[in-house]
Amino acid sequence: MEEDVETRKISSSFLRDHSYATEADIISTVEFNHTGELLATGDKGGRVVIFQREQESKNQPHRRGEYNVYSTFQSHEPEFDYLKSLEIEEKINKIRWLPQQNAAYFLLSTNDKTVKLWKDEDGEWRMGSRCLRAPTMVEPVSPLCRVLVRVRWGSGTCPWVLTLCLSSQVPVLRPMDLMVEATPRRVFANAHTYHINSISVNSDYETYMSADDLRINLWNFEITNQSFNIVDIKPANMEELTEVITAAEFHPHHCNTFVYSSSKGTIRLCDMRTSALCDRHAKFFEEPEDPSNRSFFSEIISSISDVKFSHSGRYIMTRDYLTVKVWDLNMENRPIETYQVHDYLRSKLCSLYENDCIFDKFECVWNGSDSVIMTGSYNNFFRMFDRNTKRDVTLEASRENSKPRAILKPRKVCVGGKRRKDEISVDSLDFSKKILHTAWHPAENIIAVAATNNLYIFQDKVN
């Protein structure tokens, strides 16, 4: 993956001999906990890095609520399935937090096959954050960058201003040095034949589900040797397979309700009270296809890569390759809102198919009040859509463009015609720099953006 020059120069002198060094650092999931105090990232190397928000102090008001590395541990290791002669990747596909209990933090992490429950108690998981405050630079692997930005969406009566504060670059720590010997509290293994793509904690905090391509299993946190299969779309004859499950999530308030999305662009809402096996959906969300947009790749770009309930539980948001859609749970025949993320790619689908970019799975997130949605794009761009004002903005997560105290300009992609000065043309986009994973603080305007192996945390600065 391409990093900016500065990072490359620094890290090359510390590179491990392992050829996976750079690849293993690619962040594969980002998730805030329920209070926003902690931020967890997982990477392709199977590591989990936890950041903790600094408590505000009167001494250093400008360092309000910054995130620093809290601890890190190796969650999953590569495994080999001898029966199938298959290697099982250690890449962390998803991390999901449980609510804090007493003084302990719990999180679930999963790779393709195995879900693990981790618990942090004093001394067992945490590194002791004091020593992290002024460390010497060891190896910059996950640089933290906070950027001052003032984004005005317009001088109208309701400008949405996002400001972020930049401090001097935090010395970066090599996660290996902070590695703790951590053992998972629970290991939920051997329940999935196919690759796990989602995990979701139920609102009852007693159960959670894990979804792979064809099945969804329900687990009790206390029981690791059995799970209940609640969705099974595997056809009797695999040759008749037409769609797979791509994402699944529990309703935020109703512990019997969950949704799962498919590769065909449909979403099914299921109620576990109706039957043990939720093969029959309670609701079926699908938008009729636009025949004028039909192409060889229509099926690929309609495949849903992420589905998220709004915090209110009234809406679901889905991400497919080119758009983000918001659905009202009460209306199944079409979404209530559709946002074009990067429609200029529609004419480039063949090239994107060739270089495999068309298979990229972008995630999407809601802000705490469900008024703004965010998703990633290419060239380290990410997009925010304000559902109320219908304004949208494109921002870039790049240290090159983020000088201290600089104002981060909204970016614009030129789709044709004369390119203006600050615009970037579609052909100049760097498709190796993709933002697939983002997270939004549950209450505040703080976002975490993973750009390959860099993590950016943007905070708004209240003036």
């Binding site: 002669s85 290697e87 890449k91 040759e239 397979l241 060889f296 099926e299 690929i300």
Partner: protein, 224 residues
């Protein structure tokens, strides 16, 4: 003709992806390969379709050639293939009669693509009753380089015949025992030269007749 070239290219790319997917770390990705197989199916249908028939889907992705609207004219001096698969009538006849036949076939074939390749002459019906199977197998194709594109569509095989290995062997690597029984018309006979295919993994050629009569290479195929 451009759309056919585009379709041909997409078929080649897709087969390359399926082939290279076998060496991927972490095992085969079911989702990705399913999508690739769907693209492959669409491109193949376009590729094999009658030039006069509206290709489904139109190759809008390429931006070239433009989408073919339904009812695109069937004119043209070139030999045409009717979707109905009546190769004899298409090859022999010409002019108005052909056009009329083609138009009729085009109209009949306008509804969903799965039915288009279904129309075959009686003698070639191997599995008219079975639904179009989605291609999720891997295939090694015999590379006859430089072979001229053959417009014969008399025997438009289903994808089962083209991708011979079974998908139901998902848990097992061994597809040998799962190869489908040979269909009428001999569309899916036993692999003839698996060693050849294994020896030339880099060459993937998607000539039309090869596409249609492709035999599975049991040794080279890894079941999902």
């Amino acid at each position: 003709m451009e759309f056919k070239l585009e379709a041909h290219r997409i078929v080649s790319i897709s087969l390359g992806k399926i082939y290279s997917a076998r060496g991927q770390r972490g095992g085969l990705k079911l989702h990705k390969n399913l999508l690739v197989s769907l693209v492959l199916r669409s491109a193949r249908q376009v590729y094999l379709s009658e030039p006069g028939c509206p290709p489904e889907p139109p190759p809008a992705a390429s931006g070239r050639g433009g989408p073919r609207l339904p009812g695109a004219d069937c004119e043209g001096p070139r030999p045409r293939r009717c979707c109905c698969g009546c190769s004899c009538c298409c090859a022999a006849a010409g002019g108005e009669a052909n056009r009329a036949d083609c138009a009729a076939a085009a109209e009949a074939a306008a509804p969903p693509p799965p039915h288009c390749p279904r129309k075959r002459s009686a003698g070639e019906r191997g599995q008219a009753g079975s639904p179009v199977k989605k291609p999720r197998r891997e295939v090694e194709e015999e590379p006859p380089p430089g072979e001229q594109e053959d417009m014969e569509t008399g025997n438009v095989a289903s994808l089962i015949s083209i991708f011979g290995s079974s998908f139901s062997g998902l848990l097992s690597k061994e597809p040998k025992g799962r190869r489908r029984a040979p269909l009428d018309g001999g569309e899916a006979t036993v692999a003839t030269t698996p060693t050849d295919a294994a020896a030339e993994p880099g060459q993937i050629c998607c000539d039309e007749p090869v596409l249609r009569t492709l035999n599975p290479w049991s040794t080279a195929i890894v079941a999902f």
